[in-house]
């Protein structure tokens, strides 16, 4: 396979998939499981589906990314985290802001607690709050 780029995590002979496809597979495995799974269990089930053999670290990377996106919740079980899909209501909430921001007029609809700060505003704010800043939140 001379024209294949070196893909360390994918098994030999398997063409590299787009990253989104792997995430979708992992989400699918977790949804089908019905219970929280550790990255090791996710990896086994992916293998059972006759998908490419992924390294443990690849699976960890993918679930961490999904967790950071707000698509997975995790809880600590022993030394590892176990992951499960976020329920639909919460998912709707997390996707909503993105969807509304994609529209031209989201500002009319969403009332955010704080808008973005410029560097100058941040300095000003620290000056205004002065002593409060020293207390840990």
């Amino acid at each position: 396979m001379p024209d294949e780029e070196p893909a360390r995590d994918a098994g030999p002979g398997t063409p590299r998939r787009p990253p989104g496809a792997l995430e979708a597979e992992v989400m699918d495995v977790l949804r089908a499981a019905g219970a929280p799974l550790s990255p090791g269990q996710v990896r086994e089930r992916l293998a059972a589906r006759q998908l490419e053999e992924l390294s443990y670290s690849t699976v960890v990377t993918i679930v961490s990314r999904l967790h950071a996106k707000g698509l997975l919740e995790r809880e600590r079980t022993g030394r590892a985290f176990a992951y499960r899909p976020v329920d639909d209501a919460s998912l709707a909430a997390s996707q909503m802001r993105q969807a509304l921001q994609a529209g031209t007029d989201h500002g009319a609809v969403l009332s955010r607690f704080v808008s973005g700060l410029s560097g100058r505003d941040a300095r000003l704010l620290r000056q205004l709050l002065g002593e409060d800043e020293d207390q840990p939140g």
Binding site: G70, V86, A92, A93, A99, A108, S111, F113, R126, G130
Partner: protein, 314 residues
């Protein structure tokens, strides 16, 4: 038609200049109502003025003059609005109509989307906690409206900070603040000179919610520090150490807010004594609106009189 017809087009410039100082000084609820009403009134008057100028230009066209049986020379002599200005007014009027239609469509869509999403969330709970690492808190209008907060933000805040945050967002929903901002931005679409006034309304609804949160928690300083804390969570850390900051903090409020964004201004307003009603400012705004309205009405009367005269002179 007299040159008064230009006045409703100029008053929005004054209103735009006055908007930010007014938003800073007036009690926020009053300021929101007043500034929103100002945008609507001035948009209506300036649009009326454009319509009058367009009408007077049309009346001078040979075809309409023949149809309405007007004397064209009388119209030309009696009307100080040049034909070119009339044509410009017609263009502006068309642009305003298009802009208003575009904004109505966009806001209606955003609102429908908001209602749909609010309805799709778990029933019962007004507060929806979003998992993930983002620092997020916003009110989502709907039936019922929802307050969406990220779990991370709730973790970072203590009980009192959470109470302040939720009181603020609840005030947005209870006060239907999105309607004020929508109306103000619609008016600004009709007349872009009013955009600073519409932005001031965006600011005063935040202040309104801040003052509600302060009233509910009974602690203005708590609301101020919560806003600051949440805002700084997502802001980059300063490069310099904190020793200098303590000094500037101790020096007090000698901080210039002239070019500051909304967050520092809100915090400063909460650290200052509560705002009071200011009758002088109210009177000035009322005079501005009345001037625009009266001159639009006067211009309309003039045009009507001129057209009648042009008919009898024929």
């Amino acid at each position: 038609m007299s040159a008064l017809v230009y006045l409703p087009l100029l008053v929005p410039v004054l209103a735009a200049a006055a908007a930010r100082p007014l938003a800073a000084r007036l009690e926020p609820r009053l300021a929101t109502w007043l500034l929103t009403a100002t945008t609507v009134a001035l948009a209506v008057f300036s649009t009326a003025a454009l319509a009058l100028m367009t009408a007077s230009a049309l009346a001078r066209s040979p075809l309409l003059a023949a149809l309405g049986d007007y004397s064209q020379p009388v119209l030309r002599r009696g009307d100080p609005v040049p034909a070119l200005a009339g044509m410009a007014a017609a263009l502006l009027l068309t642009a305003a109509a298009v802009a208003v239609a575009v904004v109505i469509r966009a806001r209606a869509r955003a609102l429908a989307e908001s209602y749909r999403r609010a309805a799709s969330m778990a029933p019962g709970g007004r507060v929806v906690v979003v998992p993930g690492h983002s620092i997020e808190a916003y009110a989502l209008p709907g039936s019922p409206g929802r307050i969406v907060v990220s779990g991370r933000l709730l973790d970072v805040l203590n009980d009192r900070g959470r109470a302040a945050l939720l009181a603020h967002e609840h005030a947005h929903l209870a006060g239907r603040h999105h309607l004020f901002t929508t109306v103000a931005h619609l008016a600004a679409a009709a007349n872009p000179l009013l955009l600073p006034v519409a932005r001031a309304v965006d600011y005063t609804v935040e202040r309104w919610a801040d003052e509600r949160a302060a009233a509910i928690t009974g602690d203005r300083r708590l609301v101020a520090s919560t806003i600051g804390q949440v805002a700084l969570l997502s802001a980059p850390r300063p490069a310099r150490p904190r020793a200098t900051l303590a000094m500037t903090g101790a020096r007090g409020r000698a901080v210039s807010l002239a070019w500051a964004g909304p967050v520092p201004r809100r915090v400063a307003a909460l650290l200052a004594p509560p705002p009071r009603r200011q009758l002088t400012l109210l009177a000035i705004v009322a005079i501005l609106i009345l001037t625009a309205g009266a001159s639009a009405a006067e211009a309309a009367r003039d045009l009507h009189a001129l057209l009648e005269f042009a008919q009898t002179a024929r």
